[in-house]
Symmetry: C2
Subunit: 554 residues, 2 copies
């Protein structure tokens, strides 16, 4: 399933030349951080690598009540107030921008602040509302954070590659245009890992973001910064992207909602990446938010802009208005174990709890053993590295930046740098289709409405440890939409004790299961799960999420 | 652009063993042809390889008036009568089945007749109507022909490969299911060329179908039989498929309408082909018909069955109801020459004529020079053979059947059997995307509603001569929907004289332009053109076609 990757990319001598550029970039980040909004450094924990520190719990103590009153509201409720003139864009903006600044002190999630631009935009939106008596769009005045992966006109977009640190892009990503036209306010771009191919986060530019629930832990990746800032209420909603789990891992580990939509409903045009001509697995952009209903708002607003008018690869499927399902109409299949890596105790507890919640609500719940997972993982790994890693290695070698451990791991996927011919590539695509068909039939034959499964075999991980992507990547391979949601439970070392009786079935399971060696490290990590629906049934998945949200808040 | 292909597949010794199977197949075809419906052989022309014979003009002389009264009606008008009980399915069926039988005597288009099944189905539909007072669906009782390329439960599907001549498939193609559910009656499956990768037709099973307008000429391919049977009124509408021009060449050469829809709107599930795991260029199924409005009926009826419920690769975009455009709202860009192969005199006449028709109707018409055609042709050719022809060669070698000239030509596309690595394949995909983008921008920047261009550089060809696919394959590469329509003009040796002053710009042009050496050979061949719209704007393309149909019949 994995081969050993030999690092020929790192070049300390060359990298030395690039270091001043990184320093310059970081200086700009610092300069563009509003000092007056930061909390006193005395309020920051000192030993975050040794002691779990919950930055979210600390937030109410370090931000003003007037700020908290705004940022703690769901985006869809804020949007309603902004659209009806019951809240100004400027007040909303300042509250989130302050929280975003403080959030960065705790979690180091930011790549770039441009708060002055955001403020100007908020002022313009208020002026527009005053003049016309109506909002510019459904997201009028909502501060939204952006993963540093999507082009913004006249700004650098490097996608965490040092060699692109001066890459000024001359277009806006179409999705950013859609969000802007819908009324969003931009002010911060957030961190991803090197190559964007880790399920956790670390890059050679801004280093390592942290998980706000427990600063010892990783926030997940690759939309790492989005997970952290949305959880820290530093933005009303965020924008991530996912080719293997990159929206869902950060959403799950940071305890927020995250949707990986069906491919080609949201535009990927004008984004920076190292996947030239790769369409066997399609990267998708989607929202992260703190409430189920916010996900619906985001999707409805972006698709409402008809992205297909700007990007001919987007399928012209409007966002359909569907009702919240009734429990008795649903049959949910739970995947307790994918057969490759057994979930750690806290995830097992989450699944058992959800089974109880769903059953008690009158939903039919069945156990599903997912077919062909090992084959799916092998297939997607080979596809990821189908160009022998060339696109990524070219960008890495240019700066000679050191390869981080999870970069080496991901570059070793499949055949690693071994050459693959086009026939093999097509065979893998064919296998993908056959697995896709099998899941399609599984749901139809058993009349299953949705599948419920782990996001990953564990809660948020210790940094640079995640190697198994199967729980998320399976769905990228066969392109079924997924909604990650927090169960409301958190890891508790007293309850989620190590199960030392379990005998792993493989090397990868031995490694991954072994990561849960000391429950005390993971204290407070959110227990999140993943809801999966049929292709293009994004609307139904989100609405089922809203029902689950109702059930969980009872 | 093309490499030499060395034939190692043909094996006369092995093929000898397969010949009895072919004979058995042909005997069955003969047995299933209703002798009592055939015309006397004395009515058939004897020297069809030497003298142009127009079978369409002969049709009214050889079929009964009662038959002609039915088969000459547009499908959408028949459908209305069938749906309202003003015509029975049996009467309709028998008329078309008789014409289909006679059409085969002239054009040799059929692969398989199953007229008894068709009659039984028609009787059942009449019984249904009698009992329920309503039709089963929008196509209630319409006899529809099918290319022999789509699975039909318990029937052989060989897709013109001798080695598959006993391949009994156990599923129905989803599109066939959709047509059936909509009320269609099936009774004949039609011929395609060896490998389905010719723009004309010839296979080692049933030989060569002929063009009904001039039996010396080819009907085009690969939906060869569909072009012939629809033109000969042997079915109310047909079902073709197109990965390089295979709906459009037969439609154009046979003087009927043909739509190549945007990919993934009509299901390709459960079809036989040799393109395992190939998604860089996507084959699409679409209708052939004698009237513009019939195309709309076919698409609306098939998509109305929600093919995405049976095939998760179909995008759930309902067939939208759009109005026929007003001439003043349109700007049509005409491509007179793609820069690679200049169209022959009759096609030039067709373009000039259409410019006049459109302009006089008040439509703004501009000339468009299509960008990057050579690059597009090279890209798609390399993609076609990206598995080094392996899928096709495996199926050919199994029977050792002789490779026909156009098979060798197509197998020599791109790199031929030279090995391509997955990185190159991805580079080609990337080039495709960049060309797609360029045409998207071209239409948006110049505010062009539709493009009008040749279907091929000539009218229907002498058999096994077409080598240039650029006029159709360009649109497969970048997936823009196309509607082929007859201008109502026909090649006339007196008007369409050879232009010997023209100096070809390349070897391929020299060859292709040189095919129009003797205008008398092409007499009576329909002059057809191709209308192209934006991706997913199939509805708009069809409605513009209806406007053009109105203008042409004025």
């Amino acid at each position: 399933m994995f081969s050993t990757f030999i690092d020929k990319s790192s070049d300390p001598v060359k990298f030395k030349e690039w270091k001043p550029k990184i320093e310059k970039y970081k200086t700009k980040l610092k300069e563009n951080t509003k000092k007056e909004w930061e909390v006193s450094s005395s309020l920051l924990p000192s030993d975050i690598d040794e002691t779990p520190f919950n930055a979210i719990e600390t937030l109410p103590k370090v931000v003003d009540k007037s700020v908290l009153d705004i940022i703690s509201q769901p985006a869809h409720k804020l949007a309603e107030k902004l659209r009806t003139g019951n809240l100004t864009a400027v007040d909303t903006f300042v509250a989130f921008a302050k929280a975003a600044t403080i959030a960065n002190q705790y979690t180091n999630y930011a790549m770039e602040f441009f708060v002055d631009e955001g403020l100007k935009r908020a002022e313009e939106l208020d002026a527009y509302f005053k003049k016309h008596g109506k909002p510019v769009g459904p997201l009028h005045g909502l501060p939204i954070s952006l993963k540093e992966h999507y082009n913004m006109k006249n700004k650098v977009t490097h996608a965490s590659y040092v060699s692109l640190i001066e890459n000024v892009t001359d277009t806006d990503a179409v999705t950013i245009q859609n969000l802007y036209e819908a009324g969003a306010v931009f002010y911060v771009r957030t961190s991803g890992p090197q190559t964007l191919m880790h399920l956790d986060s670390w890059n050679n530019i801004t280093g390592r973001p942290r998980n706000p629930h427990n600063l010892m832990l990783g926030p997940g990746g690759s939309s790492s910064g989005e997970g952290a800032v949305v959880a820290m209420m530093g933005s009303s909603m965020g924008v991530g992207s996912d080719i293997g789990g990159s929206i869902r891992a950060p959403a799950g580990f940071c305890g927020v909602w995250g949707l990986r939509p069906t491919q080609k409903r949201i535009s990927m045009k004008n984004t920076v990446g190292a996947f030239k001509g790769f369409e066997a697995v399609v990267c998708v952009i989607g929202p992260l938010a703190r409430y189920a209903e916010d996900i619906d708002l985001w999707m409805k607003s972006v698709i409402g802009q008809k992205p297909w008018l700007l990007d001919c690869n987007v399928v012209p499927v409007p966002w359909r208005t569907v009702g919240k399902p009734t429990p008795s109409s649903l049959k949910i299949g739970i995947i307790y174990d994918d057969g490759i890596v057994k979930p750690h105790p806290p995830i097992e507890r989450g699944l058992t709890y959800m089974k109880k919640v769903l059953s008690e609500a009158g939903i039919e719940v069945v156990t599903v053993k997912p077919p062909r997972v090992a084959e799916a993982v092998e297939t997607i790994n080979k596809l990821y590295s189908s160009d022998s890693g060339k696109c990524q290695l070219d960008l890495l070698e240019k700066s000679g930046e050191p390869l981080l451990p999870l970069t080496k791991w991901a570059l070793g996927f499949g055949k690693g740098t071994g050459l693959m011919n086009a026939g093999e590539y097509r065979d893998l695509t064919d296998t993908r289709e056959s697995i896709k068909e099998e899941y399609f039939n599984l749901m139809n034959d058993q009349n299953i409405s949705f599948l419920l499964s782990p996001v990953y075999n564990g809660v948020a991980p210790m940094p640079s440890t995640i190697k198994y992507w199967g729980y998320t990547a399976l769905w990228n391979l066969i392109d079924m939409p997924n909604l990650v949601f927090p169960t409301g439970l958190f890891q508790d070392p007293k309850i989620d004790v190590v199960d030392s009786s379990y005998t792993p079935r493989s090397e990868i399971e031995k490694y991954e299961y072994g990561l849960y060696d000391d429950p005390s490290k993971f204290v407070g990590a959110p227990i999140s799960l993943q809801l999966t629906g049929r292709r293009y049934n994004d609307e139904e998945v989100v609405k089922c999420g809203e029902l689950i949200s109702d059930l969980l808040s009872k």
